[in-house]
């Protein structure tokens, strides 16, 4: 795409110079190293989707990483993306509803894990309202209860920081830093957060074995959970009502926030439906569900067994709950623990690279 534009530009310039000699043909050509991350077959994905307008490069990812961990982007200089998406907790924050944004006000939803999002092409956020990472990032950057930033002030800060300025000029062709580039760089970094080296992955790749208990748990997972938490990414990337609530509050000022995906699609079947979260690294990402209502995986299994609330939009698989006995429960939990990827956590710890 970029080369195509350059080509067009060059043709345009040479055409123009044929008539008038007032265009400088010496456009600086930026040299960045594009790459595609190595993928494990255990992710069960076909390729690495990325938007043509923002192909990842080594330099772009470095810049994005720096931005991700930089609290100076926030209104009070104290909150970075990592404040709510901490690498040690698989990029979550360990609380139900964060109160650590710039305003100290409680958020309405819990911070989801941030990895394997390149494949989340059916929409981001719990209700799928954001089309892509590039568009999403302006949300946390400017939300008054998250980073509360003014985009123009971010640009001023970055323009006046010589190291940033230099990095932006390497990664992007434009002379001036623009908000779009800030978001694109962060997106490049986020797309490289790929978790694919858990014990489960090594087992699938025949590098390690699972215990009998774990294998039993795997079979229970396949039977009861995999229709939504689909093997590979451990999410079907789709939206379901998994029976958390019977009815949904709808205070006017929150614009349908408690109605799940219905707020985005106005489709009655999406009432109370949320994106299926991945089960990868699930042992690290408590509390659980879109509002962090469950503190432990035990509570989650209690919900699936006894807590399902019936209503019109409930996913049909869950009408009768998921009955499992104590032994099966232990097996399932043992299997879920094999989805923890300590290599991923280690590699993305800000101190380890």
């Amino acid at each position: 795409m970029k080369t195509y534009q350059k080509f067009l530009l060059l043709t345009a310039i040479s055409l123009a110079t044929a008539c008038a000699q007032d265009v400088d043909p010496t456009e600086p050509i930026s040299a960045v190293n594009y790459f595609v991350p190595k993928l494990s077959p255990t992710l069960q994905v076909a390729g690495f989707p990325q938007p043509e307008r923002n192909m990842i490069s080594v330099e772009g990812v470095d810049l994005g990483k720096k931005l991700f961990f930089d609290p100076n982007l926030s209104a009070n200089g104290k909150v970075s993306c990592a404040s709510c998406h901490n690498p040690e907790l698989a990029f979550t924050d360990g609380v139900s509803l964060a109160e650590h944004g710039v305003s100290g006000e409680k958020l309405h939803r819990t911070a989801p894990a941030i990895f394997n999002l390149a494949w989340q092409t059916e929409g981001l956020f719990w209700d799928g309202g954001a089309h892509d990472l590039e568009s999403l990032n302006f949300g946390p950057l400017t939300h008054p209860d998250e980073m509360g930033a003014d985009l123009d002030e971010i640009i001023t800060y970055l323009e006046h920081d010589p190291a940033y300025k230099k990095q932006f000029n390497v990664v992007f062709p434009e002379e001036q830093i623009e908000s779009a580039q800030v978001s694109r760089a962060i997106s490049q970094y986020v797309r490289t957060l790929i978790s694919q080296d858990s014990k489960y992955d090594r087992w699938q790749r025949k590098e390690e074995s699972l215990t009998d208990l774990e294998i039993k748990g795997y079979q229970l997972y396949q039977k009861n959970c995999s229709s939504c938490h689909q093997e590979g990414l451990f999410t079907d990337r789709s939206f379901h009502n998994n029976g958390l609530d019977k009815t949904y509050l709808n205070p006017l000022e929150l614009e349908g926030l408690y109605q799940g995906r219905f707020r985005i699609t106005s489709n009655p079947q999406d009432m109370g439906a949320y994106k299926t979260p991945t089960l990868r690294n699930i042992a690290l990402t408590a509390p659980y569900m879109h509002d962090g209502r469950f503190q432990t995986l035990e509570e989650v299994l209690d919900h699936y067994q006894n807590g399902i609330q019936l209503n019109e939009s409930l996913a049909s698989q869950l009408t009768n709950g998921i009955a499992i006995n104590q032994q099966e429960r232990e097996a399932l939990l043992a299997f879920l623990a094999t989805l923890t990827d300590s290599l991923f956590i280690h590699n993305h710890h800000p101190k380890s690279n």
């Binding site: 089309h131 568009s135 985009l151 640009i155 434009e174 908000s179």
Partner: protein, 240 residues
């Protein structure tokens, strides 16, 4: 970047065609300015009160909208000029004009433009120029742009209390394209067009809005937003 490509490309074509001697210059300058009126008076955001078609009083505080995909046509000859990357944020307290620059000369007799942002551009917000999300026209939780924003205060006739009005209209179904006849545009002659935006039309024709009777005066999505969009699809902006 894209902009630059097109300008370079276009100017090269234009420069070359102007190498030949012709009577009518190959290009002509055109700009469009917008005038905002409410209740027959010039719009002001400084606390002045206006009367809405419903008879309710209204003090506007913010008014902005996108004009996009500007096209000029000569319906007889088929000559047409389409502005590239044509997205213009118009606001009462900011920019109120569209400079088309030098465009190919023709006796244009029709102007087409849209209110809002087309589906492609509305599908992402990491954009620049007038689509830069720094203008507070991008929605963050539901990717896309607000097409038209009107905010202010009115007196509720039932409660006699002051109440806020927030109109944030967007989403693809509310993207509206408008076609207007043009008179007096002559090939090769610089021209300034004036478009009049009549804010009364947001509140009537075909859907009358009686603010005091609305369940919510924060109108962003759903049925009410669609009604306002239907209102602005005709009679809201006209060539003066």
């Amino acid at each position: 970047m894209k902009n630059l490509v097109y300008t370079a490309l276009l100017s090269s074509i234009l420069m070359c065609s102007s190498c030949n001697d012709v009577e009518v210059p190959a290009t002509m300058a055109m700009d469009i300015s917008l005038e905002h009126k409410l209740d027959g008076q010039t719009l002001e955001l400084n606390g002045k009160s206006f009367t809405l078609p419903s008879g309710e009083d209204f003090t506007p505080k913010k008014f902005k909208y996108y004009i996009s995909n500007v096209v000029l046509t000569n319906t007889q000859t088929g000559e047409m000029y389409e502005e590239m990357d044509s997205y213009h944020l118009i606001s009462e307290d900011g920019n109120k004009s569209i400079d088309l620059g030098m465009i190919p000369s023709a006796n244009y007799n029709q102007l087409t433009f849209s209110i809002g942002v087309d589906e492609v551009a509305n599908g992402k917000t990491d954009q620049t120029g007038d689509l830069d999300p720094n203008s507070d026209m991008a929605w963050n939780w539901n990717t896309g742009y607000k097409f038209l924003v009107l905010e202010g205060e009115f007196t509720n006739k039932n409660t006699t209390e002051r109440q806020g009005l927030i109109l944030h209209i967007g989403t693809n179904p509310n993207f509206q394209t408008i076609t207007q006849p043009l008179t007096g545009v002559r090939a090769g002659k610089a021209i300034s067009l004036i478009l009049a935006a009549d804010l009364d039309e947001l509140f009537k024709d075909p859907n009358t809005l009686q603010l005091s009777d609305l369940e919510s005066t924060t109108i962003m999505f759903g049925e009410m937003a669609a009604k306002v969009a239907e209102n602005y699809s005709e009679g809201f902006i006209t060539v003066k």
